[in-house]
Symmetry: C2
Subunit: 87 residues, 2 copies
């Protein structure tokens, strides 16, 4: 399946969340990851994220599309690269 994960977490946990998501998905934009993933890997990823975030203040949104053909992505402006984060 194809997933988009967006997150809005406290600053002190952004690095950890980002690092964890990089193990499973592609960095797409600030606070946005996407990519194809199996159900098992997604469950594993979410369990590990759950150990990182504070469920009372942090927010992770998971959008799942079973068939990637049903999702169309268009980029306006530039396609950000992970390196933009460090410049």
């Amino acid at each position: 399946m194809f997933v988009i994960i967006t997150y809005d977490v406290e600053r002190k946990r952004v690095g950890k969340v980002c690092k964890k998501l990089r193990e499973y998905l592609d960095w797409s934009q600030n606070s946005v990851f996407e990519g194809e993933i199996t159900k098992g890997k997604l469950t594993q990823c979410l369990a590990e994220l759950n150990n990182i975030i504070d469920n009372n203040v942090d927010s992770i949104y998971l959008y799942q599309v079973s068939n990637p053909k049903n999702l169309k992505k268009t980029v306006y402006g530039i396609a950000k690269s992970p390196m933009d984060w460090f410049l």
Copy 2:
């Protein structure tokens, strides 16, 4: 159709982009809007956004799902509210 729009734009344009997107979609999370929209309204929204952003440095990603039934959204942690932005 159902759309998710994520944006990564220079700070000085965030307010304008956010304000414009609010006219068409629901604020979902920092830099993320979502909702049902007609093709015509989406075209109009994108044209107006194009007048706001700098295509050389800003980035807007549009994810379109023709049938909302093909998209499943799950929230982990808390569902952010637009008011969180001002607290």
